[in-house]
């Protein structure tokens, strides 16, 4: 019953929510940039006359010009083209792995918070343990096992942020499960899975999804860092991190190769944070997300 109500209420609310985000100048700016990057990634082949992987050595190391807006790299490939295609890799790798991480973390954390007991203690102990380690350390261990490449990067990101979502979901469920509407559902004879999946998780979802959105920003940086170490997407696949990896050796000869992809990472991550802040303010859930905890 309550689910049906939330759904209809959600539809009526989604327009004012968007309006609330766009009313803040920072929210509007951030949303516009994110839309621009996503559209650029999707329509990359239509937007550029160049291919991302065809080398043309006599055009190598060209600074930004009218024909190559952001210049060319050491193989004469157009940098803007590679950045558009790189957005595909960077954005999809980080968002898909965060989705995996959220799904697993939410299920584990919610089950732990709901059932309690030994299972809860096991999940909490492991989550606390991994949470106290820097993500880059966890990511390096996983990439070492699975091997460099996109699969290793995705596993690394998914595991590195798992603890964060499990902890957050567990905390949400712990406060929700004492509420009257849960007791009401139970007294009506609802089973565990019904209460968990139809009542508790939908109500715990908003803060978890917002923190997942903020984590996507961190994941983009982690992907870029692994790419920079040469452990992420392998050539010739462009990703923002991998582009900077080849650029770092050429810092003095062609600084634009490293400046522009880094700028794309930085602006996108700032935009995600500002958009997340606007979303938190619009949904009025600041207390439930706790960014610095």
């Amino acid at each position: 019953m309550s689910v049906v109500e939330t759904k209809t209420a959600g539809k009526a609310r989604s327009l004012p929510l968007l309006r609330a985000i766009f009313r803040r100048p920072s929210g509007a700016l951030a949303a516009s940039w994110l839309i621009l990057v996503v559209l650029g990634a999707i329509f990359a082949p239509l937007l550029t006359p160049y291919a991302y992987d065809i080398q043309s050595l006599k055009e190598a190391f060209q600074p930004p010009s009218a024909s190559h807006l952001l210049g060319t790299d050491e193989f004469g490939r157009d940098l803007l083209t590679r950045m558009l295609y790189g957005a595909r890799t960077s954005l999809s790798v980080s968002s898909i792995s965060i989705l995996i991480s959220v799904a697993a973390g939410l299920t584990l954390g919610a089950a732990a918070g709901y059932f309690g007991g030994l299972f809860d203690r096991a999940v909490t102990t492991v989550a606390d343990l991994t949470w106290s380690f820097p993500e880059i350390l966890i990511a390096l261990i996983l990439v070492a096992i699975i091997g460099p490449g996109i699969a290793g990067t995705m596993a690394a990101i998914a595991v590195a942020y798992l603890a964060q979502f499990a902890r957050l979901a567990r905390a949400q469920i712990m406060t929700l499960k004492g509420e009257t509407f849960i007791e009401a559902a139970r007294s009506l004879g609802a089973g565990h899975s019904h209460i968990l999946f139809r009542h508790l998780i939908p109500n715990a979802l908003a803060p978890v999804l917002v923190s997942a959105m903020l984590a996507t920003g961190d994941a983009i940086i982690l992907e870029a860092t692994l790419g920079f170490f040469g452990l992420g997407a392998q050539p010739p696949t462009p990703s923002w991190g991998a582009m900077m990896s080849s650029g770092s050796a050429l810092l003095f000869k062609a600084p634009w190769i490293i400046i522009f992809p880094g700028l794309a990472v930085a602006i996108t991550v700032v935009a995600i944070n500002l958009f997340g802040d606007a979303l938190i303010a619009a949904l009025d859930i600041r207390d439930r997300v706790r960014k610095d905890a």
């Binding site: 350390l137 810092l251 490293i258």
Partner: protein, 308 residues
């Protein structure tokens, strides 16, 4: 307090065992065999078996773990396969560099972060506050390796103030410390600001105002002291993050240290070195968490009961 500290230190034992087991185990599933790297292509199998036996890689895994742990506790970290030197020597060479870098970065983030946080809190919601918090947001979201490269470009190549890489002179520390420190500064500034504003709303502050103390004196002598508690604990908990930042930044600036050692060993499949450097970093994180918890318990007696 002593009982709490003892219990808290004892809790480290299972954590250490779990972490060491994970680090020991997973590195045995790494694709790529270090022995293959040492042998010439087409070397006879007897030579391979002899090499396996020399590094103890032919025994069952639990035995290998037991031996490894036993040696570890006596300070014997094994021989580096590629460098052919005791791992303990490599670690002993790298550790001081990382500790110096991490320590300076920690000091930098604390001093600058608290100062910025206090200034922002005193100008709450004003233009100065907005400017500081905006700068803090950008500072915390820049990828640290990229920031490091930009700093090299601006200050080493453009202005020629600092060396590009290496660790021979003190001036070579400036850019790496700045690079790591900026992320930490952002975190400290944000927490300081929030907890200053939080503390300023407490009843005792109203009493101080009623007594007629000057507002600035109240803020700096009373509110700040109150607000520093969460800052200290969170800083201690983030020691691991700062060392994690050192991993990246050391590679960017080509400085000797645990990070450079780890990344190089990873690409060479040098198990003993990877294990030892990961373990050192993990132990630093655990020690940081321990210090954070103890400091919190020392400052807030209510925490001590929670572990009983």
């Amino acid at each position: 307090m002593l009982a709490y500290a003892l219990r808290r230190v004892l809790m480290l034992v299972p954590v250490f065992l779990a972490v060491s087991l994970i680090i020991f185990l997973i590195l045995h599933f790494i694709p790529g065999d270090p022995i293959d790297n040492l042998l010439k292509v087409g070397a006879p199998p007897e030579q391979r078996a002899e090499m396996m036996a020399r590094y103890g890689l032919d025994r069952p895994l639990p035995v290998q773990y037991g031996i490894w742990l036993g040696k570890l506790l006596t300070g014997d970290l094994g021989m580096a396969i590629v460098a052919r030197r005791p791992v303990a020597d490599l670690i002993a060479q790298a550790l001081p560099h990382s500790l110096l870098l991490g320590g300076l970065a920690l000091a930098f983030s604390t001093i600058v972060g608290v100062a910025l946080g206090v200034i922002a809190a005193l100008n709450k919601d004003g233009p100065i506050d907005r400017a500081i918090m905006g700068g803090v947001l950008i500072g915390s979201t820049l990828p640290s390796f990229w920031l490091g490269l930009l700093l090299i470009l601006a200050f080493s190549v453009g202005l020629g103030w600092f060396p590009v890489s290496g660790a021979r002179t003190w001036s070579s520390l400036v850019l790496p410390v700045l690079t790591i420190g900026l992320g930490g500064t952002a975190l400290v500034a944000r927490i300081t600001r929030v907890s200053m504003i939080d503390a300023a709303a407490r009843d005792f502050v109203m009493l101080l105002h009623a007594k007629g103390l000057s507002p600035l004196r109240i803020q700096l002598r009373h509110v700040l002291r109150h607000a520093l508690i969460p800052v200290v604990t969170i800083l201690a908990l983030r020691i691991g993050w700062i060392l994690g930042g050192a991993v990246t930044v050391e590679v960017v600036f080509a400085r000797p240290g645990l990070g450079t050692l780890l990344i190089k060993a990873l690409s060479q499949h040098d198990y003993p070195v990877v294990q030892a450097s990961l373990l050192m970093l993990a132990m630093a994180v655990m020690l940081g968490t321990l210090i954070g918890d103890l400091l919190q318990a020392a400052m807030d007696p209510r925490v001590r009961g929670a572990l009983a």
